[in-house]
Amino acid sequence: MNKNPTWKYLVLLLIVTFGVIYASPNLYQAEPGVQVIGLRNAVVDTNTLERTKRILETAGVEVKQITLEYGKIRVRLTSEEAQNTARDVLRNKLGNSFAVAAADLPTTPSWLESLGGAPMYLGLDLRGGVHFLMQVDMVAVERKANDNYYEDIRKLLREEGIRYSGINRQENGAIFLRFKTEELQEQANAAVTTANPELIATIRESDGSFTMELQLTESAISEIKKAALKKNMLALRNRIDQLGVSEPVIQQQGLDRIVVQLPGVKDPSVAKEILGKTATLQVHLVDEDNAASTVTGRVPSGSKRFYYRDGRPILLQKRILFSGDNIVDASVSIDESGGPAVSITLDSKGANVNSDVTGDNIGNRMAVVYVETLGETKTDSQGNTRLVTKEIREVITAPVIRDQLGKRFIINGLDGRNEAKDLALLLRAGSLAAPVFIIEERTVGPSLGADNIEKGFTSVLYGFLLVLLFMVVFYRVFGLVASFALVLNLVIIVAVLSLLQATLTLPGVAGMVLTVGMAVDANVLIFERIREEIQAGAAPQMSIHRGYENAFSTIIDANLTTLIAALVLFNFGTGPIQGFAITLSIGIVTSMVTAIFVSRILINLFYGGRRLDSLSI
């Protein structure tokens, strides 16, 4: 009785091998290094590799290994000092088209890597870094879309020669038009809906006035929002690349949120400044014809009063010649008087407009407007505070056009070199399609991350040793077996986490500790059953057999209900909490395997198939 068939040993061997292989990458410590990636269209190739080698050689940095893989250069270095030097010198010498990031590179041996082995992926609370949850202002997206349609419709009707007697914007964003005759109403309806199938027109007649209300369809609005979110993620990705962060995470969450995680970033203020900024440029012509009403008086309908940074007013034509979206490159430079400036390269569309307009307007002025969206707190009558957006538009310069301009030009009038640097970066990375706000930030400094790892590890170790001691004292040989099952359980949890590359967070470590305490429950259940059988007078072998058999369904019931709670937790979870749910869930499943299956094999190995007078339990 209680003998193991050979297949059970094979399965045990398989489980142990799996655990050991996939847990072992965690034994290799990461080493300092730097990573080079190409920005926008720049490709990292063997040329870049050679350049990088030369730069590092000239700087006297000792390189352990340098590789080019998946369009990335990875340089392995001997010390953190070398890492800092290498990063700084490469940033300076490689130029704007490449981003250089310090990175801790794994040292997993290649045979392990080829089996898919990798160390556990540590969450930011363990490795240090910045976590932002950003809310995309979808109200602004909708408003902007409606604004565009308003201008488009006016233009369309003008071009088609359809006269309307009134046009205005409704509270809900709809466009409301009024016509003198039914015929005009019909013509307009036909023209507008053919050109814009995504608009729904509602036509009405009342008191001899013919009206038309235009609204975007639900699906069009949701498409616009999706596109805005995508574009924002792209812009954020570009900006983060510019900052030089290795392994950034940029993920959509829900319909209107973006998670950004920047491992290793120590100063959150720089990242916040760059990521959240919606700064862009718009270029308008100055309305020279109505200069008389610059300061006071009625502003003509095609123009608008803007202000310089020092508060001086200036009248600009409403039409935007081109904006940040038409800019393909921007870098810091200095103007003729030595002041900070940004030199700009336009795309072909922007360049065409620029050369046409400047050619026709020599002697007139062209204004560069700096547009930034800021979040502002408003408190409503119920005392709820919430963020609303506020747009700042400042004219930074309005030089006289002396020559026809084209693809390239320079903007000056900026407040210092830092502003020029930030503006150039933002223009290079592309503007955000909609304002974003940080609604959650969690920054963990590198020292706290290291502390957390140490404390987490210590508590796992102590909890583990206490439970081992407890089990051996209470159940002797059976306790030893349970202890082995527990060790194997921990190894398998680590192996599964490594293989899945699931994020291990500090609450995740807590989940491991908790699993250690709860995993032995299955063994306690079995062993208590065996004791009961012995007390009831059953023979030792029979007691073992019945103990395992009778406890089985209880163990399954008890564990499945805990699993339900863990899965709910996973669904609810934000980052760190999900980490807890993951380790708890994995732990529940693996503990059932080790506590029932593995411990039985060992007990059978010890006691099976021979005559016993008593059990060491």
């Binding site: 505070t385 919430r386 963020l387 508590s459 102590y462 305490g517 019931d557 805990t562 708890l584």
Partner: protein, 317 residues
């Protein structure tokens, strides 16, 4: 080593009136505290900014408080934690101070003062509506977990048992949250996660007892329900206590060695495990009894099944 030499014969169910009084007293105290002083929400739920700074030398929180108060943050709470070199700064949400830039601003202000800004150990910011959202989601998760458990137990046992287990779980959660309110411990996101783990743990205990009750309903056909429950609870008592002990051991390790970040989490689970163990003995089964459960509730189903796919009774030797 054995906890009890022989099978215990404690009349748990017979003492259910005392347990009822004890539980009601705890629940009432918890509810009273929740309604009068509420919970001490951490910034996860209340929103706001929390900064941990660490310095090379001892620093004065009074100076820092004064510096921040005179620079637009009169509501800043500055305190030491751990040592006189470590400082914790909390800034509640207020109109004008409700975005993620507050922390940068505070660091700048301190950097310009004679104290300096030290090293940033951690920064947490939760925006105005997001904290509320997290809280609502958390409460929903608790409700979903309870519903999930109720369905599972109703399916595996019977509705009276399902209600009994959920009553015990609600009992545990309310008392744990009540204690957080009474002692004004900080209620954070990890605490909420720990509450869900408490549900899982306490249920574990309850299910083990229920399983034994079901088994005994089949074995001891002559015994009445109350007696069967008593026997079952006594039979599982060593296991209930031992598992609680191993779990408490690891939780104590977590509480003492896991650092500040896991303190609240470990504390919640320690309270939850103690109350969960108590409730699986004194609340779950008595509730099932009061709902009028009898052996027939569980047996009818099995008898039906027996003819179909279970030719042999799995539990009779």
């Amino acid at each position: 080593m054995q906890l009890f030499k022989n099978l215990t014969a404690i009349n748990f169910i017979g003492h259910r009136k005392f347990a009822l009084v004890f539980s009601i007293a705890l629940l009432a105290a918890g509810f009273y505290s929740l309604f009068t002083q509420g919970l001490n929400y951490g910034i996860d739920f209340s929103g706001g900014t929390k900064l941990e700074l660490t310095y090379q030398q001892d620093v004065s929180v009074l100076d820092m408080r004064a510096t921040l108060a005179s620079s637009g943050y009169p509501e800043a709470v500055v305190q030491h934690f751990g040592s006189n070199k470590d400082v914790l700064i909390r800034i509640p949400l207020s109109p004008g101070n409700s975005d993620a830039k507050v922390s940068d601003d505070v660091v700048k202000i301190l950097a310009a003062s004679k104290t300096g800004s030290g090293d940033i150990r951690s920064v947490e910011f939760v925006g105005p509506t997001f904290g509320k959202e997290l809280f609502e989601k958390g409460i929903l998760a608790l409700v979903y977990a309870l519903i999930g458990v109720m369905i599972y137990v109703a399916f595996r046992f019977e509705w009276k048992f399902s209600l009994g287990s959920v009553a015990a779980l609600i009992h545990d959660v309310v008392i744990t949250v009540g204690l957080f309110s009474i002692f004004q411990l900080e209620f954070t996101l990890p605490v909420l996660a720990a509450l869900l783990a408490v549900i899982g743990y306490s249920l574990n205990d309850t299910i083990v007892v229920f399983d034994r009750i079901r088994e005994n309903f089949r074995k001891l056909r002559e015994t009445d329900t109350e007696e069967t429950m008593n026997i079952s609870i006594n039979q599982t008592l060593p296991r209930t206590i031992l598992t609680s002990l191993t779990t408490l051991l690891v939780l104590l390790a977590l509480y003492f060695y896991g650092g500040d970040a896991l303190n609240g989490f470990a504390a919640t689970l320690i309270i939850g495990v103690l109350i969960g163990t108590y409730s699986s003995i004194f609340v779950a089964s008595p509730t099932v009894l009061m709902l009028g459960a009898t052996a027939e509730d569980l047996l009818v189903e099995v008898v039906e099944k027996e003819g179909v796919d279970q030719p042999e009774h799995p539990y009779t030797p």
